[in-house]
Point group: D2
């Protein structure tokens, strides 16, 4: 059974890349293209990867794009507030209907992540270019496929606890930072039929998305988040008038009231 | 150490009670007052209970009320859309800061519950006055205190799966319905520092909130959801400039870039 | 990337089939062979299925069999106590090392299931040949692939709550029984690198393992439980003498003691 | 409602204290007595604390002691294998029946913890007297009451991931170690009606159990783990012959067989 390739849309805010010289040098064609290249490198013909950015009409995410996306990856930072609510609603509905979502690094404060989590999604941060070590705490998880017990990133922005998220369904990585903090860096949640994976690394001023381990995790995450068939799901509250099994104790509310009054 | 009483605000939409003769007969002073009486009956001086309704200014939930509420209970059905977004935001922030929230019955479709869950919160339903049996699947949970293995409600509105919620942190009750469905009827989640308990029973045309077992569960839920001190929590993303431990590998982004270019 | 077929061993106690006329008629070649046939029917060349039974040396589960098993399914009932502890230990280690395990029906009381759960694993039961309806409460789960919102079994043994298990990592199915009980019928847990799926249906006096939906769930379960590569895992507590990062505050215990005495 | 004091039994292996000069100096009367003193210091008359040690008959845990224990704390290291299986069974049954259990530090490898977890419970370790910083990742949890965002221990034995436990029901603390590792240091699980809390700090050659924050966490843990009433629980599998609701589709197994044969 040769499966169809996973259709991935890599969404990038693509703002820092035009404003900051350091970022421009690291990601001359935008972070989104480097993330997309990483997926192609690791997964080959198991994926078909397209990109979309904030500046496009509907941020590059009109219904026909989302309807043909199995997994969406999201990187944003400077312009979360510029993402239109209508697009956020559309992405939200697609996730509930089964589309996978990978939220990367500063995407923790994106509208879509906050909407799916229901919490504040804040965290601590420091830009000191310090060492990070990501420890795997779930060695049987497919997102950890092919990784060691831990992997290192020599220079990163620090994210520290408390990370204001609902307790993850599965915790896959915990980061150690040289400056003294820890962080839940790889977290999964189910929302409706969709799977959500948050992965911490990725600051714009460091070449994180060229790192082989980071690319592997993102590729694993895409494969893990790709929709399965599952069973029926609907965003609705249907009235089921005909019972599946016979009801013998049924009666109308007024009788119920009388019974109550007799008792009370 | 005599604890201070738990300050409870019982919020009621209070719409059906004015429009529907059956509901008016069962709850002549509104459902919220019967829920409040139930809490006073079970918990005595361990609670101080007030009520608030949709028709009041700010729906009876101005900052000074919420700031002095330990646990809020929420019943709404016909007028979810009339609840102002500003009040929903305020309640949301208070839950994250530690206020407990009990969402009752048709409150599953309230703005505040959907915002905290991040999912669609739909379900199946049928009004046939059928028998419901709530089974305890977590006998060590304080919300099950003093209950039997199960308890029955002779005539209820049915709610059926799939209930579109994130998997509960703890599942306490599962309902059996005569007509053939099941439902996760008692579910808990942590959001920020606040605890959320969803409890299913409570249709307006049946005298559910006079039932001794239902009153016991709601009272247990209030005690469980009351805030504990915990540790610090903030809705923020602070920049921690000074590391707690010395950083030796720090360097500026440009160097990082150079290193990358040397490698790449 | 054509994956290798999943190597499944279907373990059957195979006692009732020789003692009870009803069971003999339904399963003339043993339940294990019908379960194995079901897997072959649904999964074709995606699986290679073998069987093993209690009466064989080492119950058919010597190291060379387990080492070449990706997923083991377990049905036992009358002779849990006759399963040798050494074999249980061996299976346990293989699960922690990544082998998937499907525990079926009365296997809830098997030594291996109790050892993996850490709880009593008791439940209620009734043999009245009543109707069961299994509702899916996790429509995005791969174990629910291709199923409806629910499926029915016309005549079953009832299992009722409280089912004495640790809260499942994921709850996939809840059963409704005609006689009034509910049951968490499809439950998953991770143990070490291995995945465990408990699936309720399967009483020996009803032809449950011929049912198309049951066969589909078991086949889905096998695919879900098949090992992934993951990251390193060891049943050990290694001493890591050389730190990964420099330690500056190190000192010997006696100094620590002195410091304490100065303080205390 | 003045609650009765929580009856705590502090169990200590009490072997190192007699063999190692450093340990003897730090804990001249045994670690168990210092842990007990800490509980009395923090909780005053809210607890009644007794101790028990390995060398006593039945390790100081005969039925009449366990039956009158609300919460048991467990520290062992050098002599896990000397704890009698019959005592482990007795403690296990008491936990399932509702007794709280705090497992401290090297107790991760005790028979009772492994039996309750169902996994290998291994971890990495290093004795370098390095700095540990425990971060709270669940600020609304009662076990974090009164603590800061983190607290430090200047000199500790390191425990590192992968810690081979089932994913905790709730993760409260994550440790950062100076040498580069992280660890899930405060974890909770429900087993039967009993609550289990694992708390990492406590190496015998450092005066950990005199630390004010450690004492606070253990005291919070005892309060959290104290039994609640809950609903009925039994270590049994009762046959429920009389259904709660009428069964119409009942029939004997032979008919079921015939039906199957007609179909098949």
């Amino acid at each position: 059974m040769p499966s169809a390739p996973i259709r991935v849309t890599v969404w990038g805010e693509n703002v820092h890349e035009h404003k900051n010289e350091t970022v421009k040098k690291i990601y001359p064609h935008g972070m989104h293209n480097v993330i997309a290249d990483g997926l192609r490198e690791v997964l080959g013909d198991r994926v078909v990867v397209k990109t979309a950015t904030l500046d496009l009409p509907e941020h590059g995410l009109p219904p026909e794009v989302l309807d043909n996306t199995d997994v969406l990856t999201w990187w944003g930072h400077a312009a979360h507030g510029k993402v239109e609510d209508a697009v956020v609603e559309r992405v939200h509905k697609r996730v509930l209907a089964g589309m996978g979502l990978l939220v990367l690094h500063s995407g923790h404060y994106s509208k879509i992540f906050k909407k799916l989590m229901g919490t504040g999604c804040g965290l601590k941060w420091r830009e000191a270019g310090e060492r990070e070590r990501l420890w795997c705490v779930n060695p049987g998880h497919p997102i950890a496929d092919g990784l060691g017990e831990y992997f290192e990133l020599p220079h990163t922005e620090m994210y520290g606890e408390f990370f204001d998220i609902p307790q993850p369904d599965e915790l896959v990585f915990i980061s150690w930072f040289e400056g003294g903090e820890v962080f839940r860096s790889g977290c999964t949640w189910q929302r409706g039929k969709g799977r959500v994976f948050y992965f911490r690394p990725g600051h714009e001023t460091f070449p994180i998305y060229y790192d082989a381990n980071v690319r592997r995790v993102i590729a694993n995450g895409v494969q893990w988040a790709a929709p399965t068939q599952g069973s029926p799901y609907a965003l609705a509250a249907p009235n089921i008038k005909t019972p599946l099994s016979p009801i013998q104790s049924s009666h109308v509310a007024d009788e119920s009231l009388h019974e109550h009054q007799r008792k009370g």
